[in-house]
Symmetry: C2
Subunit: 230 residues, 2 copies
DNA sequence: TTATTATTGTCACAAATTGAGACAATAAAT
DNA sequence: ATTTATTGTCTCAATTTGTGACAATAATAA
C-alpha cells in the first residue's frame, strides 16, 4: 500500500446490499479501537480501471467475483475532508504517519452499490478494521465522513432503478418464490405491495423461468420456484 | 494553473446542451493547431467543492451562473489515458512540458451535463483552444480520449431523466409555446411525439403557467405562451 | 376419510391512463 | 367573405393498473 502505486486524491466507496430476515442490510467496517464505522472502500492502482479497482475491493471484502455493481455518484465536497479522523484510524492501528501521510490528503470518492446473495458471503475485515458486518439499513451505526449521505443516495438510486432493471433478483438465491421476490421489493421500497398486481407485472416481463414447486411442509398450496437466467 | 493548486488525477468534463434550429447541440472546443476536438472540462482546486469547480468551468465557457447541471458518470478506464495527445496539445500552444507535466498524468474524469438557453450564451475558448462552438449532436467532429462515450452516455441519461424531471424547460427561453417544448422533447428523444397526447400530459403536470397569446403574424390561431416558474 | 386452514395462481371487472382522431376556434392572407 | 394553417379541447378506443373474488392446493385436525 505504497503511495506511488495508487492514484492520489481519488478513492471509492461501496454500499453492499444484502437481504436477510425480511430486511435490507449493508456491509459496514469498524476500525480498530476507534469506534469509527465506515463503508468498505479503497484506492485505484495507477494501471487499473476504476471499475476493476472496485471489484477488487469487493472481492477482498466478500470473496465474490461477478457481483452486480453500479456506479451512482461521485462525492467531492470539501466538507468530507477530515484528516483528523483518518489520522486517528492510522494511529489506532499503529501505522506510520510518515509512510501513510498520503492517506491524510483530500479524496474525491466514486460511490458504487452492489447487490449480492447474503448467504454466499462471509464478510472479511481488512488490516485496519476489527470487523466487516451486516447492518440493517434502518439501524446503522453513526458513519464517518459523508458515508451516511452515500448510503442514502445509494438507496434512493436503487429504488429509482428497481422497476427499470429487475435488479432485485441479484439479492436472492438462484431459485426463489414469487413471495421471496416481493419481500425484496418491499424491503427496498419500504412499503407493502399488492400481491396480485406484483405477480402479474413480474410474469408479464417474461424473463422469469418457472420451475418445480417448493414443498415446505406448510398447510397450503405450494408456490412455484422461479429463476432469472434461462 | 499550478499543479499544487489542484487535485491530481481527477478532472471533470461537461456536456453542455443547447437547442437551436430544431436540433440539439453541444459545446465543443478545438485546440490550437492540432485538429483535436474535446469537451470543455477542467480541474478541481484543492479547497473547492467538485460541483463548484464544474460551475466555475461552465461560467468561463458560457458566462452563465445558475446553470441546470447534473452529474451522470465518472469515467476511469486506463484506456482513456493518452498522454501523447495532451503533450501534442501543450506543445502546439507552446506550453512548457516541465511546468505542465502534471497534465500528462492519468486522470479520472467526473462527467456532468448542463442544459442552457442557447440564446443566452456566447461560447468562450480558453488559453489552449481556438474555438468553443456549438455542434449538432448528430454531426460532431471526432473527439479525443473517450469523449464520444461521454457524450453518448450524457444523451442517454438525459433521455432517461426527461419524463421524471421536466428538464427540457431549461433549454428554452423563459416563455415558450407548447410547440416549442414539443420540439425540444423530439430533439432529445430523436422521435416524433403525438401533439395532443403531449399537450395533455404537460398540462396535467400542473407546473406550467399560461400567459398571453403569441401573435406572430401567421395565418392561423395564435398559441399561448407558457412559463415554468410560478 | 373428511373438513379445516393458509397461501397460491389466475381470472374478472372497475378505474385510470394513454392512443388516435375529430372538430371548432382562431389569425392572417386571399 | 373565404381560405389556410395551427391550436386547444373533446370524445371514444385501447391499454394498463387497481381491487377483489375464487378455485386449487398441501398439510393439519377432526
Amino acid at each position: 500500500m505504497n503511495q506511488k502505486d495508487f492514484l492520489t486524491n481519488i478513492a471509492f466507496d461501496s454500499v453492499v446490499f444484502g437481504f436477510s430476515g425480511g430486511s435490507l442490510k449493508i456491509l459496514i467496517m469498524e476500525y480498530h479501537n476507534t469506534g469509527f464505522f465506515a463503508l468498505p472502500g479503497g484506492f485505484v492502482q495507477r494501471n487499473e480501471n476504476l471499475n476493476d479497482a472496485v471489484r477488487r475491493g469487493l472481492k477482498e471484502r466478500t470473496g465474490l467475483d461477478n457481483i452486480y455493481l453500479e456506479q451512482f455518484y461521485t462525492f467531492g465536497d470539501t466538507a468530507r475532508y477530515k484528516p483528523e479522523i483518518m489520522q486517528t484510524i492510522l494511529e489506532s492501528s499503529n501505522y506510520s504517519l510518515e509512510k501513510y501521510e498520503w492517506l491524510l490528503d483530500r479524496f474525491i470518492s466514486v460511490a458504487y452499490y452492489a447487490l449480492i446473495n447474503y448467504k454466499e458471503v462471509v464478510p472479511q475485515p481488512d488490516a485496519l478494521s476489527d470487523s466487516c458486518e451486516w447492518y440493517d439499513i434502518d439501524a446503522l451505526p453513526p458513519l464517518i465522513f459523508d458515508h451516511a449521505d452515500i448510503v442514502a443516495k445509494a438507496l434512493q438510486t436503487l429504488r429509482d432503478n428497481l422497476d427499470r432493471k429487475l435488479v432485485g433478483i441479484n439479492l436472492l438465491p438462484a431459485r426463489f418464490t414469487m413471495n421471496d421476490l416481493q419481500k425484496v421489493y418491499e424491503a427496498i421500497l419500504g412499503e407493502k405491495i399488492r400481491r396480485t398486481t406484483f405477480q402479474r407485472k413480474m410474469l408479464s416481463l417474461e424473463i422469469l423461468k418457472r420451475h418445480e414447486k417448493q414443498y415446505l411442509g406448510k398447510a397450503h398450496k405450494a408456490p412455484y420456484l422461479y429463476s432469472f437466467e434461462d
